[in-house]
């Protein structure tokens, strides 16, 4: 078993990993940038090593500095968390060369799955559905027309070299094909100096549903069911849940089967996620491979809650060379879990990221509510890193009760000193389309602006009354362990305002 593990990350995920290690009796080594010298993950680890300045490129993204820290601290393993270097094949390879166990898949798997074209090709050979599309060798109009016929309508004709919507044309009816090819080619040449066109089937109103997979070094591959992640803002997931309200049992079986096949084809090891797009509903639904995430996901707690397993613990067990702790037959999906990500951003002002001191920060304590966070009251939210400060995961017997719990938790989660997306999360969770489970990935980009505008409400009179009471200079400082406690009464009745 691993004896000492370096956590090559920060924030809530570093804390999550440290806690799993503590339960397994694994010593932990935190790393920190100058900005994080006093961060909670540093305090939580058994020891901590500074790795450079605040800028991530010179600290959390620096392969040599992190490997130096691993060597200096005598760590025999390293967990990359998510983000930063988690999916960097060179980093995994450097660990392998240094004789440090990389808690994740082998570096060559990271390399293969990190290439969109390579991953797509692998999935096709493994029989996993991908969005039909091709770049014909013969770029004549006729051949392109035949390619559109092959991928099916509606389709998108776009610059093979391009991106950002330039040189892209939508084809809904056969009559539109000729004009679309001409227009796309003209724009492609103008924008990229290359008229090569790519033809792809349009996935309409797609849902984003992903399957958690897990493989060990002994040939065992299992899935841990799906997560629905369609509530996104500009491809950034905000709310995730399991089970997906969109999956029929038959579709779930097909998708989880395809995910296991995909992981096997990739020669995968450790925890991974196969992301799919789903088009249509019920029995007409079709799914397509989108990409593979070769790491622990931000939203892994949703799966932990409905399956009752500890994914980080299993990562450490499998990385130590032991077999997976569960056969497929022992894994069940029970109840419902929903996660909301709390971002330090201001939805009322263009989602501007927020930084500053947490003047007041109190996590709610509710049964069935789990909070994975990386901040404390009085601490600073820094400008340097990802603005996600906490995840709230609610679990209930049904989707309705899990949603009700999540709403109750967010209403009881005061965070003052910076703006957060909590008010927006509440509007989304209360939205009739969310409650009906009728969400595609375009939902928030469509409705988000209207929701964000409606966030500011008039200050209610009871809030004004509390602000006025807080103005009173009469009250004493709160108790601390260093002052005379007898003089302090935290519950003192300030005054009766009826007078």
């Amino acid at each position: 078993m691993i004896r000492r593990l370096l956590v090559a990350n920060r924030g809530e995920i570093a804390l999550r990993i440290i806690r799993a290690c503590r339960e397994l009796g694994i010593e932990t080594v935190a790393v920190y940038s100058e900005a994080d010298r006093r961060a909670p993950h540093v305090a939580a680890a058994d020891r901590a090593v500074g790795i450079g300045p605040a800028a991530a490129a010179e600290s959390y993204l620096s392969i040599p500095r992190i490997l130096d820290a691993a060597r200096a601290s005598g760590a025999d393993a390293l967990h990359p968390g998510y983000g930063f270097l988690a999916e960097n094949p060179a980093f995994a390879a450097a660990c392998e060369q240094a004789g440090v166990i990389f808690v994740g898949p082998p570096s060559q798997v990271l390399a293969q799955m990190g290439s969109k074209i390579g991953a797509r090709r692998l999935m096709q050979t493994a029989g996993v559905p991908v969005v039909p599309g091709e770049t014909p060798e013969d770029q004549s109009d006729d051949e392109l027309r035949r390619a559109v016929d092959r991928v099916g309508l509606p389709a998108v004709v776009k610059a093979s070299a391009g991106g950002g919507g330039k040189g892209m044309r939508l084809v809904r009816r056969a009559e539109e094909i000729a004009d679309a090819i001409q227009a796309a080619r003209r724009e492609a040449v103008a924008a990229f100096g290359d008229g090569t066109l790519y033809v792809e089937r349009l996935v309409e109103r797609p849902r984003h549903v992903e399957v958690q997979v897990f493989a060990d070094g002994h040939g065992q591959v299992v899935h841990l069911f799906e997560r629905e992640c369609s509530v996104q803002r500009r491809h950034q997931k905000i709310i995730e849940e399991s089970p997906s309200p969109a999956l029929t049992p038959a579709l779930r079986e097909q998708m989880t089967g395809a995910a296991v096949q995909a992981a096997r084809a990739a020669g995968y090891r450790n925890a991974g996620t196969i992301e799919f797009l789903i088009e249509g509903t019920g029995n007409d639904a079709r799914f397509y491979f989108l990409e593979m995430n070769t790491r622990l996901q931000v939203e892994h707690p949703v799966t932990e809650q409905v399956t009752g397993v500890d994914l980080v613990r299993a990562q450490l067990v499998v990385a130590s060379g032991e077999p997976l702790p569960w056969p497929q037959s022992a894994l069940t999906q029970r109840g419902h879990a929903i996660e909301a990500r709390i971002y330090a951003e201001d939805p009322s002002h263009g989602f501007m990221p927020q930084a500053g001191r947490l003047l007041l920060y109190r996590e709610p304590r509710l049964p069935g509510v789990r909070i994975d966070s990386g901040v404390v009251e009085g601490g600073d939210v820094s400008i340097y890193y990802d603005p996600m400060i906490a995840k709230v995961i609610a679990t209930g017997e049904t989707r309705e009760s899990a949603t009700a719990r999540l709403i109750a938790a967010l209403r009881d989660y005061p965070i003052l000193g910076i703006r957060t997306n909590v008010p927006l999360l509440l509007r989304i969770l209360e939205h009739s389309r969310f409650q009906a489970g009728d969400i595609d990935t375009g939902f928030l980009d469509g409705e988000g602006a209207a929701l964000a505008e409606a966030l500011d409400i008039e200050t209610p009179p009871w809030v004004r009354a509390a602000l006025a009471a807080d103005d009173e200079p009469s009250h004493q400082p709160p108790a601390t362990s260093h002052q005379s406690l007898d003089a302090w009464d935290p519950w003192r009745q300030l005054r009766d305002w009826r007078g």
Binding site: A344, M352, P353, Q354, A355, G356, L359, L360, R362, S382, I383, Y384, Y385, D386, P387, L410, R411, Y413, P414, I415, L416, G417, R419, T420, V422, P423, L426, I457, T459, P460, P461, W462, V463, A465, A466, L467, A468, A469, D470, D471, H475, P478, P490, W491, R492, Q493, L494, R495, D496, W497, R498, G499
Partner: protein, 134 residues
């Protein structure tokens, strides 16, 4: 001020506000110039201090000088103007970076640059004046 509410401080920054028919928990934090409140998932900024300042500023002055300030701790990436320059409304005068995003600071109106208070590469704090326009 008379109010129908009974207010009890039940913990640091935590108030119970009650009438005969209703009871609400409100959280309050921050110094007077930067006062925040939370109730039932909603966040409020206390604007009374800012209003008082605005009332004070409303007195006639010989020249209106406007400071542009950083909205949050940020790094100054680019200073695009020098003192004496004239800028048009909407022109970007400074670019900040915070949380991996660029934040352009724009002129709120046609103006002349009176002073620049920051340098490229500098880390600036919220409400620190970056530039003065008139």
């Amino acid at each position: 001020m008379s109010s129908p509410f009974s207010v009890t401080r039940i913990a640091d920054g935590t108030y119970r506000v009650e009438t005969d028919r209703q009871s609400e928990t409100v959280y309050v934090a921050g110094p007077p110039a930067n006062r925040w409140a939370f109730w039932n998932g909603h966040v409020f900024r206390d604007t009374r201090a800012a209003e008082a300042a605005a009332a004070h500023a409303a007195r006639p002055r010989t020249a209106v000088v406007q400071s542009l300030t950083a909205p949050m701790p940020a790094t100054v990436i680019k200073v695009l103007v020098a003192p004496g320059a004239t800028v048009k409304k909407g022109d970007t005068v400074i670019i900040l970076e915070a949380m991996k995003m660029e934040l352009p600071i724009r002129a709120p109106a046609d103006a002349t640059v009176m002073a620049v208070h920051c340098r490229e590469g500098e880390l600036v704090q919220p409400d620190a004046p970056l530039i003065e326009l008139t």
